[in-house]
Chain length 187, copies 2
DNA sequence: CTGATTTTGTGATTTTTGACGCAGGTATCG
DNA sequence: CGATACCTGCGTCAAAAATCACAAAATCAG
């Protein structure tokens, strides 16, 4: 909880009043390895802040898991499309290990936005950061060849290689497991 | 201007007071075909709302233009990374034809956010929409093969094919111009 | 209107990547 | 602890896409 508090403060300092309002949206919960935080087909009602552990967002394609994002400590995870449109989610989020999260309920958060301009400002800033990150990730697919995408990942997010298996990284990079294995051994 | 007003109202209705504040951020301007709205290397200070015409965001890669986004009427265009971090932009935005835009100055917009909770709420909602769109676009690179990406574009954004040349679409889809031409003629 | 530039279509060829199979190693879980 | 599932590396082969080259068509600018 302290981690979340200091993360929020780094984005947008909140008054005591706003902090109290925001806190009322929080529920802490621990997921076991392999448990689903969001299940495909269901409507996503929450944003998850990872306190400890990690999880991944993935699509099920012919029985294969195509990973679209990895989330570690001090990061948010949600299905933004399902959350905002309230349509069934086309992907799932799964704990990669025993993972403790703070759950922010959507409806409570919307009420908090209405009740506090500061909290809405915080939400706006977080979305700017997420949009920037997502945009850069998209660009890597247009500007870089598969091998370069891997090299770029090694250079900019070496931690991912430590915490996620090659098999799981492959689909995240849009590369087959075998090709990724070859790129790696060729270095 | 009426288009912008009704677009804003569809996202978040504003009080007269908020509308007046927001309007003070607006400047209307027309760009000639080929003119740059944002230039690589410079710091992006604005968000552009396309009133009439179209433009594209692109990176310069060894003299080739790699297109990362296309923007048409009633859509926003900006470089979100440069805008929010105030670092030099690594890409440019160019008018594809004679294009009229409403320019929202960054500093004025930030002031408007502070002055009006409603406007900040509008900003938050727009960012949710943009993040959703960008996330779906990224997923198309992980879930679909090149040929399928083209088919998907035809099915979901047939207008793009009408308004943008194959050559320009190719880099947007992360496909060579020749392959895209073949995919298209095979239909 | 017309020359110049850009865009597009197509073939031939090469390169890259994917798919499959299999073996050895490692982590996981009851 | 032991069975099982998972991860990784490698070889072969096939498929897909990129590259190169060139001609035709369309568009643009003066």
């Amino acid at each position: 909880m302290e981690a979340l508090k200091s993360y929020i403060r780094s984005i947008k300092p909140l008054s005591d009043n706003s902090w109290n309002i925001l806190q009322s949206c929080f529920t802490e919960r621990t997921f076991k390895k392999g448990e689903l935080l969001v299940k495909e087909g269901q409507i996503c009602q929450s944003i998850f802040f990872i306190v400890e552990g990690s999880c991944k967002s993935f699509h099920n394609l012919d029985g294969k898991e195509i990973n679209t994002a990895f989330h570690f400590e001090n990061d948010f995870a949600t299905n933004i499309q399902s959350l905002t449109s309230q349509q069934p989610s086309t992907s799932s989020i799964k704990a990669l290990e025993k993972t403790t999260v703070v759950i922010l309920n959507k409806n409570k958060l919307l009420a908090a936005y209405s009740a506090s301009h500061e909290i809405e400002s915080f939400g706006r800033k977080v979305l700017e950061l997420l949009l920037t990150r997502q945009t850069l990730h998209t660009e890597s697919f247009k500007l870089l060849a598969p091998k370069q995408r891997f090299e770029h990942l090694v250079a900019t997010q070496p931690d991912l290689l430590q915490r996620v298996s090659l098999t799981q990284l492959a689909s995240y990079l849009g590369i087959s497991r075998e090709s990724l294995s070859r790129f790696r051994s060729a270095r």
